[in-house]
Amino acid sequence: MLPNTTDWYGRFRTVANAANDFLIDRDLQRSMQGPDGYTGIATVQRQDQAMTNSMGLIYDRSQEHLGTSDTMIIRTRRRLINAARTFAETGVTPMTVEHPEWYRIRSGSTLLPVDVDWFKATEQLRTAFVDHPQLDWALTGGA
């Protein structure tokens, strides 16, 4: 992080940024070696930031070509737009504001039998503030 300044935009700026091409190392990228050998950009955070920032400040979504692997993005845009539209039309406080307990959830990875309903099968695992002492982090292998 760069030191914070008192400017409106002076807080929590990253060292790697658009002006220095996120410190991309072309030799490393050519090498295809090590965890950053594909991008040549060090760290997951910088890799994400470089991609997001390189689209421009607000990308024109009409220029995209979304495929089947983009379903979550499509569905989430619709969910947010519908929620905002409902509020604009009715003025009623969004349900999620009144239900803080809906935010008690967890994400992560797991193994499931091939024939189960994933959403039902993970209900307890997705619930916050529940202990599952039998689980072993070694299963992740760092992923």
Binding site: D7, W8, Y9, G10, R11, F12, R13, Q33, G34, Y38, V44, Q45, Q47, D48, Q49, M51, T52, N53, M55, L57, I58, Y59, T68, S69, D70, M72, I73, R79, L80, A83, A84, F87, P94, T96, V97, H99, E101, W102, Y103, I105, R106, S107, G108, S109, T110, L111, L112, P113, V114, F119, T122, L125, A128, F129, V130, A138, L139, T140, G142, A143
Partner: protein
């Protein structure tokens, strides 16, 4: 969209940005609105409009003194709730002071984050029950991004990129055998299930795992600007939450909420011990060091 977002509590600053009573005021840009944050001599946080209601000079230059922020231009002083508590340039008998208020927003502090409510309800709603911000070992960090908040958020719910952008040079056979890391790299084209939920949307991306099992990566979008990523072990402790707070349309302050992790550190240690290649071991060690450095 801005009015919609104002119905929700919004992470505004890290508590550490206002480290002590009467510490320096901070310029905060939130949903395009310029605010001055200060911690008064009682430790309470104020979030008030930038321009003094008198003639518009910035309260950033104010003196943070005895339970209020005093504009240095003519000495008007405001409490954390926006009330004008002193107006020394007006005649002593004037009640003008009671007719002037600075726009101020309610705030709460929890888990290292100062939350703001910019909405219209007289009684602010409860804070969202985000586990990583509520546990005893709650930690918070922040990073500014130069892009629209939703563009940044989309990167976190785009699961397929991880096998390319973050792991494009890594091979399945170098991973600890029988782990998520191995399954992920054996198949870079997961299939997908997406559902609407009470609070937003969720996806499960699945690939072949061990015999008769699928390896699932499960993640969430929560209204209005939260994302929870699919890394780590589902059910293995509080999940990190990324809050993509719009500073304005083109700048995002990402607040990362997480539980400081004995468990995650254990995960890294175990993964390193089980790693089969030097490159992977280095990778895990670097990740662990980064996690500690924040």
């Amino acid at each position: 969209m801005g009015r919609f977002m104002r119905q929700y509590w919004i992470p505004a600053l890290l508590s550490s940005e206002l480290p002590a009573p009467n510490s320096d005021p901070v310029r905060v840009l939130l949903l395009g609105e310029q605010l001055i944050a200060f911690r008064d001599s009682n430790g309470n946080v104020g979030l008030v409009q930038n321009n003094c209601p008198h003639r518009g000079a910035s309260l950033f230059f104010g003196r943070n003194e005895e339970s209020g922020l005093r504009c240095v231009y003519h000495g008007w002083k405001f409490a954390t709730d926006g009330a004008c508590v002193d107006m020394p340039n007006e005649p002593a008998e004037s009640d003008f002071r009671s007719k002037v208020r600075a726009q101020a927003y309610p705030s709460r502090e929890r888990g290292g984050v100062i939350w703001a409510y910019l909405g219209t309800s007289d009684t602010p709603p409860p804070l969202p029950d985000l586990e990583a911000n509520m546990v005893d070992n709650a930690q918070a960090g922040a990073a500014q991004m130069e892009a629209n908040y939703f563009q940044v958020l989309e990167g976190t719910i785009d699961t397929v990129h991880a096998g390319f952008l973050h792991r494009g040079a890594m091979r399945a056979e170098d991973q600890p055998p029988g782990t998520f890391a191995e399954y992920m790299l054996r198949d870079r084209q997961p299939r997908y299930a997406v559902v609407d939920t009470d609070a937003g949307t969720s996806y499960g991306a699945y690939r072949p795992g061990p015999p008769d099992r699928h390896y699932w990566r499960i993640a969430h979008f929560l209204l209005p600007f939260y994302a929870m990523a699919p890394g780590g072990l589902l059910g293995g402790g509080p999940s990190g939450v990324a809050c993509y707070v719009p500073m304005d349309d083109e700048h995002t302050m990402t607040f990362n909420l997480r539980a400081s992790q004995s468990r995650q550190q254990a995960m890294s240690r175990r993964a390193r011990d089980g790693a089969t290649s030097d490159a992977y071991r280095e990778f895990i060690e670097r990740r662990a060091a980064q996690a500690q450095a924040g």
